[in-house]
Every structure is written in structure tokens, then in C-alpha cells.
């Protein structure tokens, strides 16, 4: 809302009138599809891992078939309990979480959750994590038995228990190793989800690309903390937690922008996206698709709205969505006329 009104106020006096692909007035239906690693998404809007359950929970609230794709909650080899409460805390325009990757495990996912997802008319991506490279590989081997999985997304923001707790996502060598090992066994395309808690994201983007990743997604949450000043203790039982939501959007956008320019494989943008305007920032910065996370919590229909408003924007600009990608030097430079 903020930005579309700003748009109007900025229309230049005497600037050229909009010139689209077709003459004005004619009906224009923009092409919203996008292909990533051979997978065709009906639109570039996915829901992010850990924020949309296994899809089923939202079936009552929206039409799941509208989605470009669903990335399910992180799946590990064994079921996991997660951390003791409190697990979440609201901060300014964001939230901290330390869920501790509670999940049903790969086998139960195939039995209990996948059948529902498979029947949807949307792409299902399974987020995978582990505490050792073998964990990842064995989880993928189990998931390979399931039908209807479009791709795997590797969550590498976990500590590698064998490397003394060093995080996969903050050591380029580990990133490369786990990508290569996972790619070798994966029956479907492999997306590597990068952690933002690094000095230079391009190093990690390239490590994943060189390891054979078919695509990247970023960002996962930023590590943060909050303290209760009445007890002196951290607000989360785990001490630190991952920050997500609108607060991180500018940080995520910059990292996505950098990653896009560091690799040749496609990039999915994630971080604080709750509106079509937010999504457009990432697409213009060069992301092929985007994922919606925390916004699903406070606005369960956020993803549907983003899809609808993206389409309206493309209609207004009279461009197919793909023409907007990577036009961050300005639409004029990209040969798109101003409206």
C-alpha cells in the first residue's frame, strides 16, 4: 500500500506515457510462470520451510493450488522433539525462534504427510537437514522413495556434530561437501538454502554451485537474542534464536542481490516478504522466485495475496514477470518504459 501510493505521487510530469507489449486498452494477461532447475512453477511464490507446516494446516484457509510451491518443514533422518519452551519471541517487526527443528522424521513424512501434498496442483519441495553429511545423504535416500517431490532444499544452518559444532552454512568447505554428497544421491533437483550469518555470501553461493547445487535459496534466519530484564534470562530457552520477518528484509535483499551476481544457477529470495511489493524487490534484484515465511503466521493468506498483487502489477506495467528480473539498474536501463 505504502509503495503503490508512492508510485502515483512520483509519476513525472511530462514523462513518456506507458508503452507495453500491446496497445493500451487491449487485455493483457501476464505470464507468471518460472522454470528453475527444470521445474515449472505456475508462479514464483512459494511458502518457506517451517512456516507452512505440511500444507494441510492451511487447506482450510486458502486454496493451496494457487501456490507456485510449498517447501515443507525441515525433515531429518529420525523424528526430533525440538527445544523446550519458550521457543519464540516477538521483536520489533520480527520474531526470534528456536524451535529446534521438531519434525516427524523422513519415514513418517512419506507415510503421513506426502500423500496429501502429492495430490495438490503445486510443486512440493522437501527441506532436509542433518548433523552430519551422512545424515543428509541417508535422509535423501529415504525421501527418494517418495513420489511427488519436485526438489530437495538443503538446510545447512545446522551445526555439524562431527566438526565440533561448526555450522555447515558458515564453512564453505562443509557447504561444498554436503552439497556434493547430497547431489550425488538426490533423485530430484537440489536447492541449497544458505545461511545469512556469514561475512561474504558469494563464497558460500559459489561453494554450493561448485558442489552441484541446481539452485540456491536464501536467506535462512539471522541469529539473534533477547533478554528478559525482570529475570535476567534469555527470552528463549535455547538462549539465541533465528530472527525472521519484516525486520530482516533489507538485509536479506542485499544478500540475495549479491548471490545472484555470484553464480549462474537460479536463486530464490527469502526474508521478510509479506506483500507483492516486497516480492518485487527480490525479483528485481534478480531472484527467480521467492518464499514467504513468517508472514504466513500473521496473515495466513499472505501468499495468495502476493500472487494476486504480483499479477495485478504485471498487468498494470504490461510486462511478463520474467522481464522484471534483474532490472535493478532501473527499468529504463532495462528497456522497460515507465508507466
Amino acid at each position: 500500500m505504502k509503495k503503490s501510493s508512492s508510485a502515483k505521487s512520483k509519476k513525472k510530469r511530462g514523462a513518456p506515457r506507458p508503452v507495453g507489449r500491446k496497445a493500451k486498452g487491449e487485455k493483457f494477461t501476464p505470464d507468471m510462470t518460472v522454470e528453475i532447475a527444470g521445474i515449472r512453477f505456475k508462479n514464483p511464490v512459494l511458502t518457506a520451510s517451517g512456516t507452512f507446516g505440511y500444507g494441510q494446516e492451511f487447506a482450510q484457509l486458502m486454496d493451496l493450488n494457487r501456490l507456485g510451491g510449498i517447501v515443507v518443514k525441515g525433515i531429518s533422518l529420525q523424528p526430533m522433539e525440538g527445544n523446550p519452551p519458550p521457543r519464540i519471541y516477538e521483536t520489533e517487526s520480527g520474531m526470534l525462534n528456536a524451535i529446534g527443528l521438531q519434525n516427524v522424521g523422513a519415514k513418517r513424512f512419506l507415510d503421513d504427510k506426502l500423500p496429501f501434498l502429492r495430490d495438490l496442483d503445486t510443486q512440493v519441495i522437501v527441506n532436509v537437514f542433518g548433523y552430519s553429511t551422512e545424515d543428509y545423504v541417508r535422509t535423501i535416500e529415504i525421501l527418494n522413495q517418495g513420489e511427488g517431490i519436485a526438489a530437495y532444499e538443503l538446510n545447512i544452518s545446522c551445526p555439524n556434530t562431527r566438526s565440533g559444532g561448526m555450522f555447515y552454512g558458515s564453512d564453505p568447505k562443509l557447504t561444498h561437501e554436503v552439497t556434493m554428497a547430497s547431489k550425488k544421491v538426490a533423485r530430484v533437483p537440489l536447492i541449497v538454502k544458505l545461511s545469512p550469518n556469514v561475512t561474504d555470501i558469494t563464497v558460500f553461493a559459489r561453494a554450493a554451485e561448485n558442489g552441484g547445487a541446481d539452485a540456491l535459496s536464501l536467506v535462512n534466519t539471522f541469529v539473534g537474542m533477547s533478554i528478559d530484564i525482570e529475570t535476567g534470562k534469555p527470552r528463549l530457552s535455547h538462549g539465541t534464536g533465528g530472527l525472521s520477518g519484516p525486520a530482516i528484509k533489507p538485509l536479506a535483499l542485499r544478500l540475495v542481490y549479491q548471490a545472484v551476481h555470484a553464480v549462474r544457477i537460479p536463486v530464490m529470495g527469502i526474508g521478510g516478504i509479506s506483500s507483492a511489493e516486497d516480492a518485487l524487490e527480490f525479483l528485481i534484484a534478480g531472484a527467480k522466485a521467492i518464499q514467504i515465511g513468517t508472514a504466513n503466521f500473521y496473515d495466513p493468506r499472505a501468499s495468495e495475496k502476493v500472487i494476486r498483487d504480483l499479477e495485478a502489477y504485471c498487468k498494470r506495467k504490461r510486462v511478463d514477470l520474467n522481464r522484471l528480473r534483474g532490472t535493478h539498474l532501473g527499468f529504463e536501463a532495462a528497456g522497460l518504459k515507465r508507466e
Partner: protein, 281 residues
């Protein structure tokens, strides 16, 4: 469960920073069961990012003429930014309501206990009262004897208990400062009552702050009564996807945490792991 933009009809200030909010939302009001809750969102306030969970205190017809429930009432206390902003709502304002959520007091296995008891004893601590009215009404309809124990810090905390008047046989009040009812914790008169009871013949329904819950659960155990607790925890989504509201429950492996929003908010007291829980949210 639906997400609706509801219109504020009234937002009446009560004593002690409490408010009674009436929201027009017929579709949600009609399907609400006792003990369920709503997630409320103030539109256009990104500084109050997550929705706030609130028990559905009551459902009512929108007018005298009508019989079918159309209003959802929320009884809340101002404790922070979100409830502070709610206090400023006026008739005609819009509020996003996701409701009804959770299992209430009448989940299948909870109901099965009812024929076995002589009395339901409600215990409310402060704003915990908000979770109990619909249950009391339903139990009244079913002809079950009820008693309400209601404690607060001072009498300003003892809001709305008169709404229980026609439903429960007896209401016992307590305040820490003695400004109304028994002076001290509500658990003292509660224990007196339980002490005279036959084991297993009372069903407790408790809602209040963690220390009070723990105390009541201890009493129920000591006197051998089944006890249902309505739990609170910070919530991210209210619909079971964020896993943020999980509390420790008994059971091994994966069963060790359950979601307040989905498996709760009402739990069997002896299913909850009280130690290692979340006394401070």
C-alpha cells in the same frame, strides 16, 4: 477455523485494565465451542506483528431479536503493546480474527469423564476467567453441578464473575490483598472444598497463571480428582505450523512436546510436564 475481518461492536473498559470486546462475526461465533480461542490481528500495525491469542469468552446474538450467535466476545487485560492497542479500539473499527482455534473443554476424551463426576469445579486466576464461561454454560445446559473459585490480586481483578451466577451453584472469591472474598490465594478455599470431597468425583477446570496452575494440579493429584488445565504460551501462528507454542508433555520421543494451539489449549493436567515447562513466557 476461518480468517475474518470482524467489526468491533463494543470495547467496554472494566476494572483493573480489563476490557470486554465484542466482535461481529456470525460464521465464527456459530461454530465456537467452549474453551476455544481466537488469534487477533490489528490491521496495518506491523509493530504488533504476530496475532495475539485470546480465549473466546462468550458468543452472543447480535440483537435481542435474534437467537443465533453472531458476536464473539473477548475478555482481555492490558499487559503490553498488543493489548494496549486493543484497548483503543472503537465501535466500527476492523480487526482480523482467526477463529475458532484449538480443542476446548469438550474434546471427546474430556467429555467421557463428565458422567463419572458429581461436580465440575472451575478455578480461575485473574484473566484466566475468560476461558471458562462458555464451558460453564454448556455444563449448566447438561445439568451438571458447578462451583467457581476465582482469585486475583485485588478486587479490581475479579471481573465478570457475575456472568457465572445463573450457571454455577456457588462462587468463591479470593484476593491476595483481601479487598474481596478470602484474603490470600484462591487455592486455600479450593483445598478446603476438595478436602471434603470423595476421590475422583470432581472434575477441575483450571485456567490462570502458571504458579496457580501448578498449585491446583498438585491439589487435584492429592485429592485424586481429574483436572483439565487451559494452558497459555507464546504463539506464532495459532494453527499448528510454527511449533512455537509447544509445551512439554509426558511420553517419550516425539511425544514429548505438544502444541498448545492444536493439541490444546486444554490438556489433562497429568499429561503436562510441569517441571521444565514454561513458567515464564
Amino acid at each position: 477455523m476461518f480468517n475474518k475481518m470482524a467489526e468491533v461492536r463494543e470495547n467496554i473498559p472494566l476494572s483493573g485494565g480489563h476490557y470486554l470486546l465484542s466482535l461481529y462475526s456470525p460464521a465464527q461465533a456459530r461454530v465456537t465451542r467452549p474453551g476455544q480461542f481466537a488469534m487477533l490481528r490489528l490491521p496495518n500495525r506491523s509493530d504488533i506483528l504476530l496475532r495475539r491469542p485470546m480465549s473466546i469468552y462468550d458468543v452472543k446474538p447480535a440483537s435481542r431479536k435474534s437467537k443465533s450467535p453472531a458476536l464473539i466476545q473477548v475478555l482481555y487485560k492490558v499487559v503490553g503493546r498488543g493489548t494496549g492497542a486493543m484497548a483503543e479500539l472503537k465501535g466500527g473499527d476492523a480487526l482480523e480474527v482467526l477463529a475458532p482455534l484449538g480443542h476446548g473443554y469438550f474434546r471427546e476424551d474430556y467429555q467421557r469423564k463428565l458422567p463419572q463426576v458429581d461436580e465440575v469445579v472451575h478455578v480461575a486466576g485473574g484473566i484466566g476467567i475468560a476461558a471458562l464461561l462458555l464451558a460453564a454454560r454448556e455444563l449448566h445446559k447438561r445439568g451438571i453441578r458447578q462451583r467457581l473459585f476465582f482469585g486475583g490480586r485485588s478486587r479490581a481483578d475479579l471481573v465478570c464473575y457475575k456472568d457465572f451466577g445463573g450457571l454455577v451453584q456457588k462462587t468463591i472469591l479470593a484476593t491476595e490483598d483481601g479487598s474481596r472474598g478470602h484474603k490470600g490465594f484462591v487455592t486455600v478455599p479450593l483445598e478446603n472444598h476438595l478436602a471434603g470431597s470423595e476421590r475422583g468425583k470432581i472434575l477441575l477446570m483450571v485456567c490462570g497463571p502458571w504458579p496457580m496452575l501448578e498449585a491446583c494440579v498438585g491439589l487435584a493429584r492429592n485429592y485424586g480428582h481429574p483436572c483439565l488445565v487451559s494452558m497459555e504460551n507464546r504463539m506464532g501462528c495459532g494453527v499448528g505450523v510454527c511449533l512455537g507454542c509447544s509445551i512439554g508433555v509426558k511420553g517419550e520421543g516425539h511425544g514429548a512436546y505438544e502444541r498448545v494451539c492444536t493439541e490444546g489449549p486444554v490438556f489433562w493436567a497429568d499429561h503436562v510436564r510441569w517441571a521444565g515447562g514454561t513458567p515464564e513466557i
